[in-house]
Subunit: 539 residues, 2 copies
């Protein structure tokens, strides 16, 4: 996203063009005279060359790596292929009793943007879901775009109709009233539905096996009284309840936060609307057995930028961050906002209550972790974006306390996309997982009890977010596997699905699926045991 | 397929393993101890390790490049991914009035073979069809395996059930009675059906838009009185008739040849059964306005080899080749077999009648062109496999003549997979096309009238078979485009769909579709104008 993005990604402009990544240069070099021929043909086809004003424009992503979808598929910026690959090639031995689905989702630009929105961010790409169905050591792969309202309108028009990230003022008039949601961030299986999330919109419901989109605007039977829904709902393992929230719940720059829970059948059994100190990003949250813990990052919704046709957010280092704590099942009037150090926290590792004491662990940096959003007061500082495990505690017993405490755990380990054994949502937990990129990195396994860290390293691979898979349904916490995608840097980004045994991390991957290509990109993933999936339960 | 195949394909064993193509070596290098871990796990999972006798074996193609599917997807030996890619990335300007579909098919091993059949040939891979739907400069890509009887049985079993190429004695007992056809060679649109061919079996009918398999054993309403059907039927452009044949029509080593035609609606309006001098390969044939021209290559059906569990054919340089000529619409009793030089001809460029004089042009070599089939009397000779344009003529006016004449045209041009403007099947023709691989090669355009050759070269690309596309429905012969797939050797085989304007060959490609990956392999392709395709005609 930076001017020197190609360089920082380890691909120099020289090597990029040598490997054919610069498409214009490549075309010119490959066939003498082709460039001229192309130019001539374009000139004689003014309808095609002029673009949106007449015929649909041709699908040609911009060359600039700084642009939305820039580099196209050749640059790895888009994938776009919807795929069924039955019985993937497997190496090693997939555990015979592993029976479930590993789901993933990420942004995958459906169309190049109108050039005036070419500076839009990668996270505005349309959601593309992939799944690995694993049983008896056989693995089937399937991907589908989420057919939400946005995708369908653009598919029909064969071009981009939505402008900048979370800025409806930049949309084509033809899509007024349609949901802008991309459904590109996380997915979750609950009450038999595969729900796919983008935090600016309600979930989309997909069939967990076919990936057919079933509801392009899922509102829990009309009970989701919010225009938004987090990408990170939680499940209470004791009750099976689903707990979610939406910020900017009632429109652009709204301070309303809708918080709710639904029972194991998806019936909303509690909801309330509370107010944030200001409208800003609240990407993840924590739920304990008794409380909801919100976090307001100082990534502020920026009215001026939106009016000017820019992205939704600006990083404001001078705005305070807040931890918000409220009782589950209450009317929300007990919500209290606590101040602490301004840490840019994105993902919760785990959290629990011990009487009046609330503890939540996040990965977080001292400064902006999202350089693609503009910074109001200072340039982006990579050093300050470094994510460490931040433990926030707050004591609710004092009625006058307005501060939370922050402690950095395992300062030797940095990373992002923290996770846990999802069966320990809301509960005290022992094991956390962190994606630690870079040399010597890998998937870090944090043991809070023994205060140790193990790193599952896969040399020459770039690893996506890991997800924990229990060895058996009733396995002890952390006993099982880490599953996730690795991209082979020596093979042009070709992907493996990798399985690490948490009881023998040093052994490296115990099994792999060798994909023939780089798989579609991922923000987050989710493991669903076969018993959770309708249609598989009786198979 | 030879022991030194990797070397002859330009990939040395050293470079193969350096680029990660040797999967075992790669795994070992990537993660210290991984190999041992994998071995250990396999040992503790004897059910998985033992394979077919208990649980379904894991899908892991052999490493050896000489083996069927050897190297797997990493080695480019299989693809297996069924894909929808809507609105592909386009460069250049696709002609705005080009409206139709470019279809392709090739073998794509569905499963690794039982190790005792690992020496099977690549052409025993299951047929995988791909299509590029082109309209208004937008291009949609779709691929599907042909769901024929063989595919369905193996899909269900999750393993290979069919043994060696055209040898039913090597099959799993569970598939007795099922068609062995792979439908992997050519496809053809006629009477609204997409028919997909393998010369050992009847066609499979697919929906031309969805690629759904509609009939896994298509017999023209029961009128195809043959167990086989050529991959190269012809269309009579004056009547719209479809002319086809099947050799070894009545079982293994049968000398029967079933010849037939169907009207433009697919109603069989003529058929007869004739006899070949011996059972051998008859890959292509020619049809003129008055005659059927068969060709029997000295690739003999080999009873001993079949009994021993080998492939169907052996190359027998001592067996004569025959040109067989018979009237269209007759009872077949007029069939005469003519001898000439023993040329190994595979594909017809064009053919016509002028009274009693029949002319047919083929590409052909002096010796075996299919090194993957064993040779009975001498080792494979690459020099003799070189394909040149062979013009065969025969004069039917003499009742005693038993020879045809052979002449080599354009000896400076070698190649394979010869084609013509399909609108000139059965008629005198001016333009032929030849795929001429190697340095300085490309798609060769033969002008028989001016006696010139132009080569459409795309440097650093390996080109698949080209197909001619008329510029407009009533364009003059040869006025239009050559369309086909090129694989970028500098980008790991990533594919482009390439369009060459036959009126400006020197300009190189006028337009391309840049695919994100190597597309599924191809033997042959077929262009269908939108007006031929049900569901598109009224769009």
């Amino acid at each position: 996203m930076n001017k020197d993005d190609a360089g920082s990604a380890g691909v120099s402009p020289e090597s990029a063009s040598a490997s054919g990544l610069n498409r214009r240069h490549f075309l010119g070099a490959a066939t003498v005279g082709t460039g001229a021929a192309l130019a001539g043909l374009a000139a004689s086809s003014p309808v095609l060359a002029q673009g949106a004003t007449s015929a649909a424009p041709q699908v040609d992503f911009p060359d600039s790596r700084q642009a939305f979808g820039g580099g196209g598929s050749a640059g790895g910026a888009v994938n776009r292929a919807e795929i069924d690959l039955y019985d993937c090639e497997v190496e090693g031995a997939w555990p015979k009793d592993l029976d479930g689905v590993f789901y993933r989702v990420g942004p995958d630009p459906q169309y190049p943007k109108d050039p005036k929105y070419a500076s839009d961010i990668v996270f505005d790409g349309e959601g593309h879901v992939s799944m690995f169905r694993i049983k008896d050591g056989h693995v089937d792969y399937r991907t589908r775009y989420v057919r939400n309202q946005r995708w369908k309108a653009q598919h029909e028009a064969r071009r981009s109709l939505f402008g900048m990230y979370r800025n409806p003022l930049t949309d084509d008039p033809s899509v007024k009233g349609l949901s802008r949601g991309t459904a590109n961030t996380q997915l979750f299986l609950h009450h038999g539905k595969l729900l796919v999330f983008k935090e600016d919109s309600p979930p989309v419901s997909m069939d967990p096996l076919t990936l057919e989109t079933l509801d392009d605007y899922y509102t829990f039977g009309g009970k989701l009284a919010s225009q938004t829904h987090t990408a990170h709902p939680k499940i209470d393992p004791l009750t099976g309840e689903y707990i979610g929230f939406g910020y900017e719940a009632n429109g652009l720059l709204s301070k309303d936060i809708f918080v709710f829970s639904a029972d194991r059948n998806g019936q909303v059994n509690w909801s309330t609307t509370v107010q944030a100190p200001y409208a800003g990003m609240m990407h993840d949250f924590a739920v304990t057995q008794t409380h909801i813990v919100l976090y307001l990052t100082n990534m502020v919704a920026d009215a001026k930028r939106i009016q000017a046709g820019g992205v939704h957010f600006s990083y404001d280092s001078q705005a305070p961050c807040y931890l918000g704590v409220m009782r589950r099942g209450g009317d929300g009037k007990d919500l209290r906002w606590f101040r602490g150090p301004n840490l840019f926290c994105t993902h919760v590792m785990g959290g629990w209550s011990d009487g009046d004491k609330i503890t939540v662990d996040w990965d977080g940096g001292e400064g902006n972790q999202f350089p693609f959003f503009p910074s109001l007061h200072e340039p982006f500082d990579p050093a300050k974006s470094r994510g460490l495990i931040r433990r926030f505690t707050v004591d609710l017993s004092s009625r006058t306390n307005d501060r939370f405490q922050s402690e950095t755990l395992f300062p030797q380990v940095s990373g992002v996309l923290s996770r846990q054994d999802d069966r320990f949502h809301t509960l005290p937990y022992r094991y956390g997982y962190l994606n630690s990129p870079g040399p010597g990195g890998g998937w870090s396994i944090i043991d809070h009890q023994e205060k140790t860290v193990q790193v599952a390293s896969v040399p020459d691979y770039s690893l996506s977010e890991m997800t924990f898979v229990p060895r058996k349904k009733d396995a002890e916490e952390g006993d099982g596997y880490l599953i996730g995608i690795g991209s082979s840097m020596k093979e042009g980004g070709r992907s493996d699905l990798i399985l690490i045994d948490t009881k023998d991390v040093a052994a490296g991957p115990v099994a792999r699926v060798r994909m023939p290509f780089p798989v579609v990109g991922q923000v987050h993933g989710f493991w669903a045991d076969a018993s959770q999936i309708p249609g598989l339960t009786h198979a």
